[in-house]
Structure formats: structure tokens, C-alpha cells
């Protein structure tokens, strides 16, 4: 009898809690999509923000473009550095002081909260080096945040797929660099690109590092690296925090979420297809 009761209650509690989680996750998506759909239109995507206070009318075009520029630039910087460091760790590491330090740096960076990249970037780049609040500063801060994200995943990819190639190439008398350029990087290219894209999505959603380093309430689409810019998550934060317009906040959240989800779904789909083969 007791075991039967225990069985029943275990089943009941697990099911209730499990269903709760599933309902909550479904709710997160449905809530934003349903509320955001009302505001969403082509003109919302392609117009500049207007109205007083700003953002209560018009669209979010500059914020969308600003986010894309920011994502692309930081993915470029963070991707190169992250993959470079990962290649070093997998194929060049000697187990001596320098490689231990690089390894520790990546682990350490991955633990640092995003706001610290913003704080250090703000005081160091803007006050110490005298740069203006700009796309460049923000990209550097976001890139610093992406580096460990990319490096850890790239290390895993190279470790799994590249070692065998490297061993064969070295025993054939080829140089490490040649093997990397001609075999390993082409073989891992899609996965590495997917990792960088995931890192980009992660960086584009972050507000903390761009809070005071370059994102502003109103700006045009940036024309040069030293221009301030608008960004979707920052725009959302401003709209909500100042209570300007909840409707437009729903719209912005909808676009931001849809955009990031599409990037992630594409990346996951590609890795899924690759795994099958």
C-alpha cells in the first residue's frame, strides 16, 4: 500500500512540476508573440522612431540596423580572437606556462558577468582613452563577452574533428599551418561559423555591455565606427524603464526575440543536419 501511494505521489508531483515548466516556457513565447503581433507591421520595421516622448510612434529601423551592425562587428572581432585562441589551445599548446595562462584566461572570462565588460569598457575606453560613445567601443565590449563563448565551443569542435586530421597531416610531413588551412578549417568551417553566429545572437541580446559605451536613445543608422547607435534591446529597456509606450515595447521585444530565435534555429538546424550524416 505504502509503495503504491509513494508511486502515485511521485508521479503526480513530477507531472505537475514538469507541466508547469512546459506551460511557463510556452507562455514566454506566446505572450511576446501575441502582444507583439498587434504592433508589428512593415512600417514598424522600416520607419524611424517618432513621437514625443521618442519611441511612442514610428518604427525601429535604426535600432534594428544598429543591432545588426553591432552583432556583425563584435562577431568579427570576437570570432577571430576566440577561434584563434581555441586553435592555439588545441594544436599548439605545449602544456607550459603560456598555454595554461591562455586556458585560465578563457575560463576566467567566461565567468565574468556582462556588466563588468560594460563597466571596464566604459571607464577604460571612454575616460582613459578618450574615445566617444560609439559603435566601436560597444563592439569591443560585446566582443570581449563573446570571446569565451566562441572559444570554449570552438575548442570542443576542433578537439573532436581536427585531431585526427592533424595527426595524419603531421605524419605525412605537412606543416601544422598547412593542415589547418587546407584540411581542418574547411572541414570544421560550418560548425565554427554556426558557433560564431550563436555568439553573435548572444551578444546582440545583451544590454549591460552597451549601456554606457555607445547605445543611445536616438541616433541614425551608424555610418562610421565612431557614431553612436541605437540597439533593439537597449531601445526596449528605455521604452519599458521610462514607461513611454508599452505597445511599442511589445513590438520591439517581438522583433528582437524573433530575430535572435531565427539565428539560433538556423544554427541548430545546421548542426542537426551535420550530425545525421
Amino acid at each position: 500500500m505504502r509503495t503504491k501511494l509513494q508511486k502515485f505521489f511521485t508521479r503526480l508531483i513530477l507531472s505537475i512540476l514538469g507541466l508547469c515548466v512546459i506551460v511557463i516556457t510556452l507562455f514566454l513565447f506566446l505572450y511576446v508573440f501575441r502582444k507583439g503581433k498587434k504592433v508589428f507591421s512593415l512600417s514598424f520595421l522600416l520607419d524611424k522612431p517618432a513621437g514625443v516622448p521618442l519611441g511612442t510612434a514610428g518604427g525601429i529601423y535604426p535600432a534594428l540596423m544598429g543591432s545588426i551592425y553591432l552583432g556583425a562587428l563584435s562577431a568579427l572581432i570576437g570570432g577571430i580572437l576566440g577561434i584563434g585562441a581555441a586553435i592555439y589551445l588545441v594544436f599548439y599548446s605545449t602544456g607550459k606556462r603560456f598555454s595554461i595562462l591562455v586556458n585560465m584566461a578563457i575560463t576566467g572570462l567566461s565567468g565574468i558577468p556582462s556588466i563588468l565588460f560594460g563597466l571596464v569598457g566604459y571607464t577604460l575606453l571612454i575616460y582613459r582613452f578618450g574615445l566617444s560613445r560609439s559603435l566601436l567601443c560597444s563592439s569591443l565590449c560585446v566582443a570581449a563577452m563573446i570571446i569565451p563563448f566562441v572559444a570554449i565551443r570552438a575548442k570542443k569542435i576542433l578537439d573532436e574533428k581536427g585531431r585526427e586530421y592533424m595527426k595524419t597531416s603531421l605524419s605525412l610531413g605537412l606543416s601544422r599551418e598547412y593542415a589547418l588551412r587546407k584540411m581542418i578549417l574547411p572541414a570544421c568551417f560550418v560548425e565554427l561559423l554556426g558557433t560564431v553566429a550563436l555568439g553573435m545572437a548572444y551578444g546582440m541580446g545583451a544590454v549591460a555591455p552597451i549601456l554606457y559605451t555607445g547605445a543611445v536613445m536616438q541616433a541614425d543608422v551608424p555610418h562610421s565606427l565612431s557614431d553612436p547607435f541605437m540597439s533593439l534591446p537597449y531601445h526596449l529597456y528605455i521604452l519599458v524603464n521610462n514607461g513611454f509606450s508599452l505597445d511599442y515595447a511589445y513590438g520591439t521585444a517581438f522583433v528582437l526575440m524573433l530575430f535572435l530565435l531565427i539565428i539560433q534555429l538556423i544554427c541548430k538546424f545546421i548542426t542537426y543536419l551535420r550530425k545525421d550524416n
Partner: protein, 291 residues
């Protein structure tokens, strides 16, 4: 000749990248320590006395960090406990009571939650949770520690579920066949063999989740109310990252205030180091046990 040059060039880039990553970490650490020194030498231990309040802009400025430290730990603890209860149960539910195909669809779906940026969590928390608190609990504004804990807990869910799911599957492979053959029910097996077996792995995962929760900025900042007072479950509070994000834009470079913010973040890093260090040690012990 050309091949040799491009070999050297590739090697140079790789070493440069590795060096820059290391330099970045060094610069961050050195900068944080350097900027904290003025506050430490001028205020010293006063920042951590329980009697000192956080009043940075008054006539006689006081810089007490303890309320924000307590708030950070409080919110993160609530979040981890909630995420653990729901996450572990959900992982078991998906693994045991749903067909494999359905479970993997839900798992992929829950995994997508990890990709939602934190500002959207803050936004949903503000429009749903805080509003519900304000109307149903008759609170003035609804922004409170509990709201922040719940929002943060939901953010940690995908992480806890995926860690738990992995350890569940390995444990089931080891124990389930023998247990079922001996005539135990699946629920009995789960409660008495599998959960105890995966407990160390879950604790290590929980510590990592705790580390993530400590550093979360935007979502917490939007729902916690941002008053630098000692945290109560249904009262406003403040966390270290939220404090930094809120105040760093409005202070002068070189002021004592900024230096105190750096001390606050140094404290946060020390706590993070301890938490993540414990999780690392646990994981290493686990790995040596398995081999």
C-alpha cells in the same frame, strides 16, 4: 617560398589571438584592482560594516555595500532553489512519462529559452509578474526580491534541465535494468537509486547556475525595485550588478563613488570565484569517481 610565408603568417595570427585573449583577461583584472584601491585605502573596512548605508550622493556620503551583497545572494539563492525544484522534476517528467520524440521536442524548446535575452525576461517579469504582485498582494509597486528570484529562476531553468537530463540518462543506463529486474517500480528506482546517484552532478550544476544568477544584470534590475536596503522577500532590494548598471553612467571618472562600484564588482568576482571553484572541484571529483 610563398607557402612558408603564409605558414608563418597563420602561426603569427594564432599566437596573436591567444596572446590578446590572455591580455584581455589581465587588463580586466588589473584595471578592477587598480580602480578599487582609492576606495579601499580611504574607506577600508567601513564599506562592509552592517551599520553603513548606501547613500553616495548625500552631504555626508556613506558607501555600505552589505545590503547589495545580501540582496545578490538572496535573489540568486531563491532563483537556484526554484530552478532546481522545477528543473529536476521537469527533467524526470520528460524522461520518464513522455514518449522519447515528444520529450526531445520539448527539450529543444526549453533550450530555446536560454537564447532569450535577459532584457526580455525583465520586460515579461515587469508586465506580468510585478503587475500580478501589485494587484493581488496589494503591494505599492509589486517590485520585490521574490519577483526577481522567480524571473531569474525561469532564466536558469534550461540550464538546470539540460544538465539534469544528461546525468539522468547515464544513471538510468547504469541502474534501471538491474532495478527493474529485481522487481522495483520505476518510481522507486528513481527515488532510491537514480536521484541519489546523480545528486553530486546536480549540485555541481546548481553551483554553476548560482554563478550565472549572481552576475545577471538587466532582468533583475528591471523587477527588483533598486532600493539599497536589506532584502526582505516581498520588499525592494538591490543587487551588485544592478547597482553598477544603474549608477555607473551618472558619476565622474576618478570619484570615490566609482571606485566603490569597482570594489562592489571585485566582491562579486570573489564570490563568483568561490562558487565556480567549488563547482569545478565537485565536477573533477565526479570525473575521477567515474573512471
Amino acid at each position: 617560398m610563398f607557402k612558408k610565408l603564409s605558414d608563418k603568417f597563420s602561426k603569427g595570427i594564432i599566437y596573436l589571438a591567444a596572446f590578446l585573449v590572455m591580455a584581455l583577461m589581465a587588463v580586466m583584472l588589473i584595471h578592477i584592482v587598480k580602480e578599487s584601491i582609492p576606495a579601499i585605502s580611504q574607506l577600508g573596512f567601513k564599506m562592509f560594516l552592517p551599520s553603513t548605508e548606501w547613500r553616495p550622493v548625500s552631504q555626508k556620503p556613506q558607501y555600505g555595500l552589505l545590503p547589495a551583497i545580501a540582496g545578490t545572494l538572496y535573489v540568486s539563492a531563491i532563483a537556484v532553489v526554484l530552478a532546481l525544484i522545477f528543473g529536476v522534476a521537469c527533467a524526470c517528467f520528460l524522461d520518464y512519462y513522455l514518449p522519447k520524440k515528444v520529450a526531445s521536442v520539448f527539450l529543444a524548446f526549453i533550450d530555446l529559452v536560454a537564447g532569450i535575452p535577459s532584457v526580455i525576461f525583465g520586460f515579461i517579469g515587469l508586465t506580468v509578474l510585478v503587475k500580478a504582485f501589485a494587484t493581488h498582494l496589494h503591494m505599492a509597486a509589486g517590485q520585490c526580491i521574490l519577483a526577481a528570484g522567480i524571473v531569474l529562476g525561469i532564466m536558469l531553468l534550461p540550464f538546470v534541465i539540460s544538465t539534469c537530463h544528461e546525468s539522468l540518462q547515464t544513471a538510468r543506463k547504469t541502474y534501471e535494468f538491474s532495478a527493474i529486474t529485481l522487481g522495483f517500480s520505476r518510481e522507486f528506482t528513481l527515488l532510491h537509486f537514480i536521484l541519489p546517484a546523480i545528486r553530486p552532478g546536480i549540485i555541481a550544476g546548481a553551483m554553476m547556475a548560482f554563478g550565472r544568477a549572481l552576475g545577471e544584470t538587466m532582468a533583475v534590475m528591471m523587477v527588483i525595485g533598486n532600493s539599497p536596503i536589506y532584502p526582505k522577500l516581498l520588499g525592494r532590494g538591490q543587487t551588485l550588478p544592478a547597482l553598477t548598471a544603474l549608477e555607473m553612467g551618472s558619476i565622474e571618472y576618478g570619484s570615490l563613488h566609482l571606485s566603490v562600484l569597482y570594489v562592489a564588482n571585485a566582491v562579486l568576482l570573489v564570490i563568483l570565484f568561490i562558487v565556480l571553484g567549488i563547482s569545478y572541484l565537485l565536477k573533477r571529483r565526479l570525473a575521477t569517481h567515474e573512471n
